[in-house]
Amino acid sequence: MWNVGVDVGGTFTDFFAVNAKTGMSVSFKRPSTPETPATAIINGLAELATERGVPQEAINRLCHGTTVATNTLIQRKGAAVALLTTDGFKDLIEIGRQVRPRIYDLQADFPRPVVDRKNRIEVKERVSASGEIMVDLTSEEIDRVAALLEVSSVTACAIGFLFSFKNTDHEKRLAAELRARFPRIPFSVSSEVHPEFREYERISTTVLNAYLQPVMNSYLGELERQVRERIGPIEVNISQSSGGLMSLDRARRFPIRTALSGPAAGIVGATRMARKSGIPDVITLDMGGTSADVALVRNYQFDLAYDRSIEGFPIRLPAIDINAVGAGGGSIAWFDRDGLLKVGPESAGAHPGPACYGLGGIAATVTDANLVLGRLSSHGLLNGAMTLDIQNARRAIEPIAVKLKLSLEAAALGMLNIVCANMVRAVRSVSVERGHDPREFALLPFGGAGPLHAADIAKALGIRKVIVPHAPGILCAAGLIYSDLTEGLVKTAPIKVSASTFADILNLTRSVLEDADKWYESEDVKTEMRRTKIVFDMRCVGQNFEIPVDIQDLETFTADRLRQDFMREHERAYGFANLEEQIEIVNFRVTTRVETNFVEPLVPIAEGPHAPDPIDERLVWFSDAGPSTTKIYDRDTLKPCAIIAGPAIISQFDSTTIVHPGDAANVDMALNIIIEVAS
């Protein structure tokens, strides 16, 4: 029985398959087919059968990470959407938070909403802050709205009323009536998509969901059809922005949940690798062609954020807390108007790509610098499938060297130092913001370019340990297999915490737990596989933003205990806590998770500490004093307990790891490379 993870990226579709009984694993990449992403998946599954020994009938689960929703938003190719909203508030979706994205830029605006003003229909209805009906939604009003919808040419519809998280009645009634009358139009309802406080974020999230629904429906429908036709009725799960999986059916109802899922599975995979190597606190660095994503993992747990956005639109759904930096292999070196050398955020992307790709690119990129310094081999990437032209790289960097009055190699080193400084700055600000010192973490690089730069970045941050996972280039596909089926449930009901309100707090919590049980039942989950987590979003009365507080045990839980837990979290987040302050709960959150039992991939038998044989050597520049003769190793042949002293380069199919002079690398029992960085 095989579990297959498929991660579809812009350039490659990655596959990682594990046999659930034997632990045998297979991984490979195929070029993506952006016009019809399902084609690459279906072809890859066929390749698994014909060339990789994974017969299609032996596949029982497919875990899929998709960027279809993300790309639809970026390219603004979603549906024609209508928004039905409370009378007086049709402009709210366009006003947003009434701010500009860049204060000094008079030309920069947040994007136009995806729902045109003419398609925003105001509905006579009103619910008060306490959930009471102030203006009733009449059947005449529903008829009027239906008539307006009838004459519009929309293909999806969002419903978002004020205080619908308090009282869902109006939204539900309107949705039920309209769903019956317009069976071909998908309806996204704010109390279903995101039943939380703060109307702009809730309605914006709902509108984006509606915008994505027709596109995702047809994509996932087509994928499901083809998978069924070729493999049969296997379980297909889709990756969510929060790092968990969801069923295909939920993905079709809530496509917005996949919008930030691109980097999420990689963090799940990285966390898994950290656990296998027994290192609980890591900073993950996923560096690809155009950008690097940074996330903090503490005690094998990544944080979730509820305030992320995409293309200027807020999405207040749980997503892994990731910060992106415009630094990747394709980042371009340039001189600013003050003569300072900068690298990125502009990237040469995949086309034309770095100059050394020979696809017509002439700008000097980070990849060109790595090639000139011998850190990348001119035999190229992907086992020689893609050769790199060092003459092109040298030509691209030459003007920079001339302007800096430096040798070509010194200029290339300078470029790498600058791109490293950019990442250091990003990592530092993420850690300081979360109240941590980066020196207390190990660095876990992945993505094609991560392991090339990790040691430099670790040094500059004062980090002593780097973990290069076994397959850095396909960690996302692997992470999909390690992800669990999850669902986030929430009820918003601001309630002050005191002995007298405690019974209400318990009741509200139980009502969300009942929703959780309904979900487990709907997904057919056995009781022993259910893992439920309760989190309250809490704040001091008068504050505008909440702090999540984990509720460990509902049985022993008291108002005093809750107050103490909140104060501890407040202290951690803000550096102080005023014990006298009145506090309140805003959101009751329950996360459900289905424990997945899977078998670890097989690892070759360890043979005790040994120095592996290099496959080659070449000259590599680590400082501008001159190149060092550097041994090259093949990652695929390295076994546990292999020890390699720097300088060395460890090369593999989709990534290159640099071990600097003075640093030492060893391969652990999980086949991860641990680099001890010299100070």
Binding site: G88, F89, K90, D91, L92, E94, I95, R97, Q98, V99, R100, R102, I103, Y104, D105, L106, Q107, D109, D116, R117, K118, S128, A129, L162, F163, F197, R198, E199, Y200, D336, R337, D338, G339, L340, L341, K342, L404, L406, G414, N417, I418, A421, N422, V424, R425, R428, S429, V432, E433, G435, P494, G542, Q543, N544, F545, A573, Y574, G575, F576, N578
Partner: protein, 552 residues
Amino acid sequence: MKIGKVDLISLEIINNALRSVADEMFISLMKSAYSTNIKERHDHSSAVIDVRGRLVVQAEKSLAIHLGSMTGLIDSILDQYAIDEIKPGDMFVANDPYCAGGSHLPDVNLALPVFVAGELICFVCNIAHHADIGGMVPGSMAGGMSEIYQEGLRIPVVRLFSKGELVGDILKLLLLNARVPEERRGDYYAQISSCRLGARRVEEIVERFGRNQVVVSFDEIMKRTRSRVDNAIASLPAGTHVFEDVMDDDGLGTENIVIKLTLTIDPAAPRLMFDFTGTHSQVLGNINTTMNATRASVLYAVKALLDPDAPNNQGLIDAVEIFVPSGTLLNAEFPAAVAARANTCQRIVDVVIGGFVDVLPECVVGGANGANTTTVIAGVDPDTKRQYVYFETLGGGFGGRATKDGKDGVQVHITNTSNLPIEAIETEYPLIVERYEFAEDSGGQGRHRGGLGLRRVIKPVAHSAIFSGFGERFFNAPWGIFGGDEGRPGRFTLVSATGTSKRLISKPSGIVIAAGEAIVIETAGGGGYGPASERSPESIADDLESGKYTRG
């Protein structure tokens, strides 16, 4: 002391590290402050300033209006103390606009001199808007005040720490003179720990790169920004341009307050001179600005027009000359009231942009809602019997632009604070927001029209409440450029239960909104760009189809 050279790569890396210092100070202050104002509205800034009082780097998210206030403090310190009187472990505090380089009293500045091996290397400083600094009214910001003493506690440059020891007497004095002293204490400690973090980070950088490299980098960074801005000035056409605009009133009887600018561009020098001679004399109401606030506003506009990516440092500040006769609205003399300076700062930006209309036709924008329209509703919650004060500023229309319309309903120019969610307002206050929408037809028409103003309709629930407002651009409309139409001014209107409307003045105070009545706040639409006759048929169709315009 030998001054070395720094290579371009090290310079960029040191530059990056210094930006990181300012940014981390900013984050640390935001995280540990007590005031909502700082923690959530981010009304604070941080910077590194050299031993001559020159701004080296400012945190990326710093407020535009704070540019210059921190250097103002260091200048005052250097004026009052010889270098050898500044000792390791000293920390200075100040806020006064007249004797300590501040811009209004709620903005409290802290500065920590950083010593390495006994030598003063630089200052790290931050500025935070405290929710209250004493004075006549809670919040220390309301209208009706006519001299600085009414606006709160004036803090000259004094040591909050001396040789590493807290000067407890000073802290006691500061806390006694502000409302909610425990909160203020939290904010002061947040500022202190942010400075300490900054100092530690500068020490690390000096340790890594060496004292000389770092100090030379300070100079290089400023020099390079200066030449970057100079180059931009050198590319402008020579000429003199006069522009003036009129503020509605100061709330204490002075109306039609003129701001006049004579802009002289000499690309050969290169020189950019802003002469505000002809501007109205200072007024009794609290809309006056001191030079620091005026300079910050001019620099905001210059940077936005010439080079939005230019770093905020002394190189930018020094590239621009500003002359304002003292005793005028924009260079007020003691003891003029300044708390509501933000309205005037907004208008300075409009005026500077107006001065550049013929110089940079591609970059300039029509007159915007050059205001900081403020609504305050106070009363007693009929259910809880507790007093409440609801306070918010509303955005308006942005000016039409060379390639596109002005943005509808947005905070403009130097202000960029969020609105409050309707669901937050109605949960926290006994108020109902009936409408929050664009004021249709309010943007000035043009080839590219001005953005629409906003309209918000608020009703107290089952009680009567008191409304006070601070409106600007209620009588003097945002102007169009190159033949664009002017935007429609804003207004406050009281609507009775039976639907009759009564227009209020621009700075009303103590207006009773009875149960059943509603207050309507409307802000100005922006001015258009280019003649309306040149508007494309598609844009006209879109205006009508979207319903943003009811006429053609």
